[in-house]
Symmetry: C2
Subunit: 417 residues, 2 copies
């Protein structure tokens, strides 16, 4: 314990009382513990017996801790805090700055946990909500060759998916299958009944509206899946002529506007589970959830909006009327020109978006059936699904590399000094 020897030692007599003599029933109260209770400290003990030094994973099960754990003694320096627990005499040494990250600010015990990263990076609190005007007329963009060559550019492009929900990469090779390379650059392809990748173009007798020339309102893809695919990629091989533009809406913002303007409609959509369904010759999928999903603290976390695959709701008449009115209000906000960004995807453009948040659609297009040409002609996109957590991991690993070290925030269990 050289760190204790180096710092100004603040040894306490047994009992771990506060300087003013008060203490909590669990023996805490020493300022160095920053208001953290004994069970918290013990559950996060970084000693090699409690936490695997190799993997950082916890070895000590919660059920194996003494139910009546207390802090019996505290020895604190600027750098480290040694705790002897009662009743079993177990010993832990914490880095003081690590405790500061989780405990109360010094002198403000009882005011709540200290500052830290957002506790859930999937909710509205961790996002930058946008209307069309906020994006200056276009979605965030990057360039595939630079994305490959420059980790900072790659990080910026992928971070845009976390903050804004969408990015378009230009100059992806206009080759079939290139979308899989883009997906592999950020995570893992999620294979579905549509294959590892799927072609979006007009087909006769299409089993899915995506494969027609019809316009499509802003929507979530595959809401009949659970889990819904979190990342979608769409890569343009041939652009349409006469329409076929892509549209994007921030569904979190649309939901937030609904909450502000019509709280009852918002509550209806957050509390009414609805079923989405899809079937073809080889597939029968159903999934149920609210159109606006909240976390346990009431923050917007997941949008499911798709009129094409919404099954009839099972509600008493009055509730059904309220539901359809709320659904209409939300769909109108999602299609509002103030909310919606329209983008013409050019050959080589690959859009990557958070399918749990950003709603996508397209305008109708006229062409089809003709021969593809380099300048446009028959509209042809290739798409695939991937996972948002894999993308976030890629961003975090890039950040770690750029910082030249492991960020402790990413390994919150690394509590040792």
């Amino acid at each position: 314990m050289t760190s204790l020897a180096r710092g100004p030692v603040g040894a306490e007599p047994p009992g771990a009382a506060r300087p003013d003599g008060t203490r909590e029933p669990d023996g805490t109260g020493h300022p160095a513990l920053r208001g953290l209770p004994a069970v918290w400290l013990r559950a996060n003990c970084p000693c090699p017996g409690c936490q695997d030094p190799g993997s950082g994973q916890r070895l000590a099960a919660i059920t194996g801790l003494p139910a009546d754990v207390t802090v019996a003694r505290v020895l604190a320096s600027d750098a480290a805090v040694e705790v002897i627990f009662g009743p079993d005499g177990h010993r832990a040494v914490f880095a003081a700055d690590w405790l500061a990250r989780y405990g109360d600010p010094v002198g403000e015990a009882g005011t709540g946990p200290g500052p830290g990263p957002p506790d859930d990076d999937r909710t509205e609190d961790a996002k930058r909500l946008w209307a069309a005007a906020d994006l200056g007329g276009g979605i965030p963009q990057g360039w595939w060759p630079r994305y490959l060559a420059d980790p900072e550019h790659r990080s910026a492009c992928l971070s845009a998916v976390l903050t804004h929900g969408v990015v378009v990469l230009h100059d992806v090779p206009g080759e079939p299958g290139a979308v899989l390379a883009v997906a592999r650059s950020l995570g893992y392809v999620r294979e579905t009944n549509y294959g590892r990748l799927f072609d979006v173009r007009a087909e006769p007798a299409a089993a899915n509206l995506a494969f027609t020339r019809l316009p499509i309102a802003p929507h979530t893809d595959n809401p009949y899946r659970d889990p819904v695919p979190t990342i979608q990629l769409l890569h343009c091989l041939h652009a349409a002529t006469g329409g076929g533009d892509s549209t994007f809406t921030d569904g979190f913002r649309a939901a937030a506007v609904l909450r502000e303007r019509d709280p009852a409609a918002f509550t209806c959509l957050t509390t009414t589970p609805v079923t989405f369904a899809y079937a073809d010759a080889a597939t029968v999928l159903r999934a149920t959830g609210p159109m606006i999903g909240l976390d346990p603290r009431g923050r917007i976390r997941q949008i499911r909006l798709n009129g094409r695959s919404l099954a009839p709701v099972r509600l008493p008449a009055a509730q059904a009327r309220a539901f359809y009115a709320a659904y209409r209000a939300f769909a109108e906000l999602a299609a509002d020109p103030e909310a919606l960004v329209t983008t013409t995807l050019a050959p080589g453009d690959c859009v990557i978006f958070d399918n749990t948040r950003v709603l996508h659609g397209r305008t109708a297009f006229a062409d089809g059936g003709g021969t593809a040409s380099a300048s446009g002609g028959r509209r042809h996109l290739q798409g695939c699904y991937a996972d948002l957590d894999g993308l976030a991991s890629t961003v975090a690993v890039l950040a770690r590399s750029q910082a030249g070290q492991e960020d402790q925030d990413e390994r919150p269990w690394q509590a040792g000094p």
Copy 2:
């Protein structure tokens, strides 16, 4: 409209009033409409203009329907109900038995929606919760050769994953990679940073406790992922000697028991988002959610229990104490011998389980480092992840094949006569 001509015709004069003269403001009230409001009927109109006959997907966006839609006229037979909507004169023809599926039972208008399949097959309401005694000492089982040859056996095995959350298939070839064939038989492999498949055996300097010989308490796999993998497969290539048994607990039942015995602890775990984290040289994953996830109606829907990767909670001291007490109570219920089934996986056994519900663990084992032998020796499992919705689709397609027809429940939009 030959169906109308065949059945006993119940034509109504314009206005769609009830036989007793009363009607709703939206023009409904005719008994054939079974209490369903005009907006519900219009939103589910099965005409080719509203619903693509090829795909069954809805063409008419909710935003395109008249906001003041009414039922102007009803013509009903035993088989079909024709509706003329106001104000635009749009015409829909519904199958009478299809309306009956969603509307009130005849003569009981206002009592709520009619009978139907469970609205969300992922919640506790659609499951058969079990304690160890309910399973007669073992988890549901099947045999891979019969599973391949007999669709009924395959359906029964996979249905056990939906109802009980777990099944073990015996006699899977004891070859590396065979687990991927099992996964492909029920859906799609979900590739992660652990690869398409992962090997579970004792390793030096393991980055994950799974790859040691230590015991592991009942837990959810990969709670630091969002979405958490819904299906896990584990295939035994070599059994352990001296321990290494697999354990399974119904996490939904453990949560339900907690709700009954300690409602405050249950509420704590359903309303407190906690963060799980994992990092190694190439990966930095974090995900946040409550340990017991509920649907908007308060039904148990998803368990996240894993002490190894739980990050320190950020809560004021009193809440932190309550959280750790609730977490301990839940973990104790999950490890309760009354709840837990212990199974010795033999070479060739492949267990398939719902990772959002069933908690798995293992007892410690002594061997390792030696040469594998057919009778046991060095414990070696191979695992992979897949998706529960794909498994449910496989069961539904098998049911459709066995019935020799499409089940309308699976295509709820097929409302036409």
